[in-house]
Symmetry: C2
Subunit: 360 residues, 2 copies
C-alpha cells in the first residue's frame, strides 16, 4: 500500500487530470473550490461517479503488471459506496459476479465500496481451499492454505473436503470481526478441462472458474483509498495452465500429465515438463473456447498489449511496465513483449496496491 | 562500457580483495607498494598472472546476466598479453578454440590480450553470415546482417552464399585498419540437428556450433580494461533452440517446424508456436547429447544456478542477478529462477561490459 502524502495535494493532481482528459477543464476550478472546502471541513471528500469511473480506468491503465491494459477504456464501474453491512456487500458481490460473468462473455467490472478500511480477506472471489493433510501434503490449492486456515478458524467447515472447494468470502468492516459467506455454486461459471487430442485428459477431473476477480487490492485515487474495490477481467490461459495447475507449489500437475502422455521423465533433458506444460495450456484454451467462456491465449494477449503500448505512445504518454510480470510463463521468447523494453516501471497514481495481510 | 574512476583507487580495491580472498593478505602491502610506484611512473600497472586469474573468475561471478555462474571456480585463463600482431592473436584464438572445444567436453576458457584498445569486431568467434537478398529477405542469420556488411566492406567475399557461412574473425589493433581471418572449418565442432521422434527433422538441415565464445566484451578489472578478452562457456540448449532458431528476427524456424508437424497454424490458441518450440529444443538437446558435445538444458542449468545462489549466501555474499536475463525463454515458470527474487542487480567490478560498436 502506498502512503497518501496529502489528501488535498493528491486530490488536486487527480481532479485536474480528470477534468482536462475528459475535455471539461473549464469546470475544474468550480469543482476544486467545492473539494477544497469539503476537505477543510471534513478532512476528506466525496468523489463523483464520473470521477470514480475515470479514476478506476486510469488505475487500470497505470497497472504496470497488467497485460490486459489494451482494454482499459472498457471497464464497468459499480458505485456501491452507500452500502453499510457485510450482508449488503455480499449481495453486491453476487450481483458483480452475475453481471461480469454474463454467461461467459466476461465483462471487465469493478465494484467500489465505502473507503473506510473495510476489506475482503480473499485475494480473489473464487479460491479453492487448500487443506493440510496428516502426511503434510495439501489437498486442494496449496496457494490458499493460509486463507483456508483462517476460514476454518472463523468457523467455516465444509461437509467433505475435495480438491476444488470454494472458500467462503470473508468480509471485514473496520474494527469488527470478519464475517464469512458462501457463494451459491450456481453463480459460479466453471470450465471442466478436456483436451482436443487426449481423451484421458478429462479423467484428470480438472476444472477452473471463468471469472478472475481480484478482491484484496486497494484502489488508490485522488487521495482516497478504497480498501474494498474488487475488480475482474478475463483470464489469460497461461495463468491457469502454466501457473495454477503447472506450478510446483500449486496443483503441480505436470508430472501427472507427463506420465499420462507416456513421456520419459527420468531426465530433465527430454523436456517432459515443457511438453506437458504446453498440452495443459492447450487443454485450458480448448475447454474455455468450447464452453464459450471468454479468455485469451498469451500470444494474442501480448499482441494486444503491444497495441496498447502503441496507442499510449501515440497519445504522447510513456508506457510504464513491469517486464518481469508481463512476460508469459511459457514460450516467452515467442511473444513480442519478451523482446521489448518499455519506457520505465514508475508507479503512477491512481493505481491498485496490495495491503498487508488482514490476519497479521 | 563502465568508466574507470581512478586506476589507483580501482587497483587498490581489487588487489586487496584478491589477496585477502586468496588467503595471502600479508603479501598485499608489499604488492601495493610496487603497484603504487608503477602507477606513479607509468600511469598504469601490470597485473600478475594470479591476479588476472582471480580477476577473471570474479568478473564471471559478478556477471548478473549469466546463468552459468555455479561453475565460476572452473575457468581456464590464458595470458596472451605478450602478443602484438593480428596474426599472433588469430593464432592464439585458434588455440583457444581447440583447447576449449576439447572434442566436445567443452572447457570454460578466457584468453586475455594486451589492454591497449585492441578489439574483435565479432560478438562471438562463430557467427553465421546474414546476407541481404534482393527481395529484402535475409539468407543466413538475420542477427548478423550488420557484421556481414562490415566484413564484405573489408573485402571478405564467400564463394557461395549459404544459410550457415562462418563470418571471418575481424581483429583491430588500436589506430589501425581491421584485418580479417577465416577460421579453418576443421577446427569448428558442429552439431547437425536431428530429432528423437521426427525423422523429417534432419531434412531441415539445421546445425549449430558447439562453442559459444563471446569476443566483444571488455574485461574490466582493477582499473585495467582488457578490450580483447574473449571467453567461452558451453551452451544452454534454449539459447539455440528458443532464441537462435526460434526468434522471429533470427532463423524463425517455428512456422516451418509447425507445418512439418502438421499443426493447425490458423490460430494462436492452438499453441502451434509453443509445440514447435519445445520440439525444436528437444532436437537441440538430443543432438548435442548424441554427439557428446557438452551443453545443459534450462531445467538443469537453472537448478545449478540456485546452487550458486545458495553457495554465495553461505559465503556471506549477496546474489546480484538480472532476473529478466536469467529466466529461460521457454517454460520459465517450470524453473526455480522464475519464482526467486534475488538480492539485487548491482553491477560490481571486476566484470564484463559491452563497448560501443567498433564500426560506428
Ligand atoms: C480484461 C482482461 C484482463 C486481462 C486479460 C488481464 C491480464 C492480466 C495478467 C495476465 C496479469 C498478470 C497476472 C499475474 O501474473 O499475477 C494481470 C495483472 C493485473 N491486472 Fe489485469 N487483466 C485484465 C483486466 C484487469 C482489470 C479490469 C484490472 C483493474 C481494473 C486489472 C488490473 C490488474 C492489476 C492491478 C494487476 C497486478 C496484480 C498483481 O500485482 O498481482 N486487470 N492482468
Ligand atoms: C560454463 C558454462 C556457461 C553457461 C551455461 C552460461 C550461461 C549463460 C547464459 C544462459 C547467459 C544468457 C545468455 C543470453 O540470454 O544472452 C549467459 C550470459 C553471460 N555469461 Fe555465461 N555461461 C557460461 C560461462 C560463462 C563464462 C565462462 C563467462 C565469463 C568468464 C560468462 C559470462 C557471461 C556474461 C558476461 C553474460 C552476459 C552477456 C550479455 O550481457 O549479453 N559465462 N551465460
Amino acid at each position: 500500500m502506498q502512503p497518501i502524502g496529502s489528501i488535498k495535494a493528491e486530490a488536486e493532481v487527480f481532479l485536474k487530470q480528470c477534468y482536462i482528459d475528459e475535455g471539461i477543464a473549464p469546470i475544474f476550478p468550480y469543482r476544486w473550490e467545492d473539494v477544497e472546502e469539503e476537505i477543510a471541513e471534513t478532512g476528506t471528500y466525496q468523489q463523483t461517479y464520473d470521477e470514480l469511473v475515470y479514476g478506476a480506468k486510469l488505475a487500470w491503465r497505470n497497472s504496470n503488471r497488467c497485460l490486459g491494459r489494451n482494454f482499459w477504456h472498457n471497464l464497468h464501474v459499480r458505485d456501491m459506496r452507500h452500502l453499510e453491512t457485510e450482508v449488503e456487500m455480499f449481495q453486491a458481490i453476487l450481483e458483480h459476479i452475475q453481471f461480469a460473468t454474463n454467461g461467459g462473455e466476461i465483462r471487465a467490472t469493478i465494484t467500489i465500496f465505502k473507503p473506510d478500511g473495510r476489506r475482503f480477506w480473499n485475494p480473489q472471489y473464487f479460491q479453492y481451499a487448500g487443506y493440510r493433510q496428516p502426511d503434510r501434503s495439501i489437498l486442494g490449492d496449496p496457494g490458499n492454505v493460509e486463507l483456508t486456515d483462517q476460514a476454518m478458524r472463523l468457523g467455516w467447515h465444509p461437509e467433505s473436503q475435495t480438491r476444488f472447494d470454494y472458500l467462503p468470502l470473508i468480509i471485514q468492516l473496520p474494527g469488527q470481526e470478519p464475517r464469512w459467506f458462501e457463494i451459491p455454486p450456481q453463480l459460479i461459471l466453471e470450465v471442466p478441462l478436456t483436451h482436443p487430442r487426449y481423451d484421458w485428459f478429462g479423467d484428470l477431473r480438472l476444472k477452473w472458474y471463468g471469472l478472475p476477480a481480484v478482491s484484496n487490492m486497494v484502489f488508490d485515487v485522488g487521495g482516497i483509498q478504497y480498501t474494498a474495490a474488487p475488480f475482474n477481467g478475463f483470464y489469460m490461459g497461461a495463468e491457469i495452465g502454466a501457473r495454477n495447475f503447472g506450478d510446483h507449489h500449486r496443483y503441480n500437475m505436470l508430472p501427472v500429465i507427463a506420465e499420462r502422455m507416456g513421456l520419459d521423465c527420468s531426465q530433465n533433458s527430454t523436456l517432459w515438463r515443457d511438453l506437458a506444460l504446453v498440452e495443459l495450456n492447450i487443454a485450458v484454451l480448448f475447454s474455455y473456447h468450447q464452453q464459450e467462456v471468454r479468455l485469451l491465449d498469451h500470444h494474442t494477449l501480448t499482441e494486444s498489449f503491444m497495441q496498447f503500448a502503441d496507442s499510449e505512445h501515440q497519445a504522447g504518454r510513456l508506457v510504464q511496465a513491469d517486464w518481469g510480470c508481463l512476460v508469459p510463463p511459457l514460450s516467452a521468447s515467442t511473444t513480442p513483449v519478451f523482446h521489448t523494453q518499455f519506457d520505465g516501471n514508475r508507479i503512477l497514481k491512481p493505481n491498485f496496491f496490495y495491503a498487508p495481510l488482514p490476519w497479521q
